[in-house]
């Protein structure tokens, strides 16, 4: 991964993220390793999106929206499929991306498709991080997901039904 591309695309070094969060660089590294902060790797260094650092900073300030949590549930189910058969899931993602490029010839949806291309090329771990992370950037990526068709319709309806029951039981 080209470092310059990261720095010019709103990515921060761990030291910069630490300044923003008011903590040590080691703490930022720990947050990355614990999966609490999404990052991309240049091989040696971690690079973190500014949006995700800001999202972490303000985490807990407000309740997640119902539709965001519902989407997260669907993507956790897709993650379950990914760990069982990564080749199938990533292959389907690539094929969907190829089709979707023709459907979205204009608009910044293409930016999301390009980014998904990069993430899928990094392999199942990178895809997993996006599918289950609660950062703002991961939510944006999931909204533009290339994984329709991974879940069968029956599985998808099961997840949506389970989510509806879960949401109804939340304390008022």
């Amino acid at each position: 991964m080209e470092t310059r591309g990261f720095l010019t695309r709103g990515f921060l070094r761990t030291g910069q993220a630490a300044q923003l969060l008011g903590c040590s660089r080691q703490h930022v590294v720990d947050l990355c390793d614990e999966g609490k902060l999404a990052f991309q790797s240049t091989g040696v260094h971690r690079r973190i999106r500014r949006e995700d650092v800001e999202g972490y900073r303000y985490a807990g300030a407000s309740e997640p929206r119902r539709e965001d949590l519902r989407s997260l549930w669907l993507n956790r189910a897709i993650a379950g499929k990914l760990v069982r058969n990564p080749d199938r899931v990533l292959g389907l993602g690539r094929r969907n991306l190829e089709r979707f490029r023709k459907l979205h010839a204009r608009g910044s949806a293409l930016r999301w498709l390009d980014e998904w291309d990069e993430i899928i090329a990094q392999g199942p771990e990178a895809v997993m991080r996006v599918l289950v992370s609660d950062t703002p950037h991961a939510r944006d990526l999931r909204q533009n997901s290339p994984f329709p068709g991974v879940l069968s319709e029956h599985e998808r309806q099961d997840v949506l039904g389970a989510f509806r029951r879960h949401w109804a039981r939340r304390p008022a």
Partner: protein
């Protein structure tokens, strides 16, 4: 997303819910006011459209939309776009917004899209990085007027700090 794609989503959502009209909120509502050729790329950035039924206290209709044409559905797989069922209360909007909705007719029902200034104010009320980018792109391309935004800000139900933050942002534009 383009206007044809939004119409396809609205048509399908009206059929699924049996509603003659559905509210279109979120970024894609701008397609009610402008065609995609008139809009900057940042304004048509998503493949999903948020739709809400006006009378849906238990989110039943929102869930119907999601089940039928939502994320990861066959509709999504086929058309590369999808509808997301949400609540009318999802957006913070200035008083009088219902009187300013912009109608997008299909042969199965209508999408009532947020008026462009109401849409921008709802984004500013939410106020994350992406929302400010969206609002900036419309202001920069003179598709909304800062004077109207500033006047309507007074009727936006937000706290004093948020109102001041938005006001400062508008003054810089």
């Amino acid at each position: 997303m383009n206007r044809d794609q939004l119409e396809r989503i609205v048509r399908a959502a009206c059929r699924i819910t049996g509603e003659p009209e559905l509210l279109v909120i979120g970024s894609q509502a701008i397609l009610g006011s402008f065609s995609e050729e008139e809009l900057p790329a940042e304004a048509i950035r998503s493949i999903e459209a948020d739709l809400a039924a006006f009378d849906d206290p238990d989110d039943l209709k929102a869930d119907q939309i999601d089940r039928g044409i939502g994320e990861d559905s066959q509709f999504h797989a086929t058309f590369g776009v999808y509808g997301q069922g949400v609540s009318v209360s999802t957006a913070v909007l200035p008083a009088g917004w219902r009187d300013r909705l912009v109608r997008l007719d299909t042969d199965s029902g209508a999408g009532l899209c947020l008026e462009k200034h109401d849409l921008v104010l709802s984004k500013l009320a939410r106020g994350d990085t992406r929302d400010y980018e969206y609002a900036s792109s419309l202001v920069r391309n003179r598709l909304v007027e800062t004077e109207i935004l500033a006047n309507r800000l007074e009727r936006l139900p937000v706290g004093a700090l948020k109102r001041e933050e938005i006001s400062v942002w508008l003054r810089k534009k």
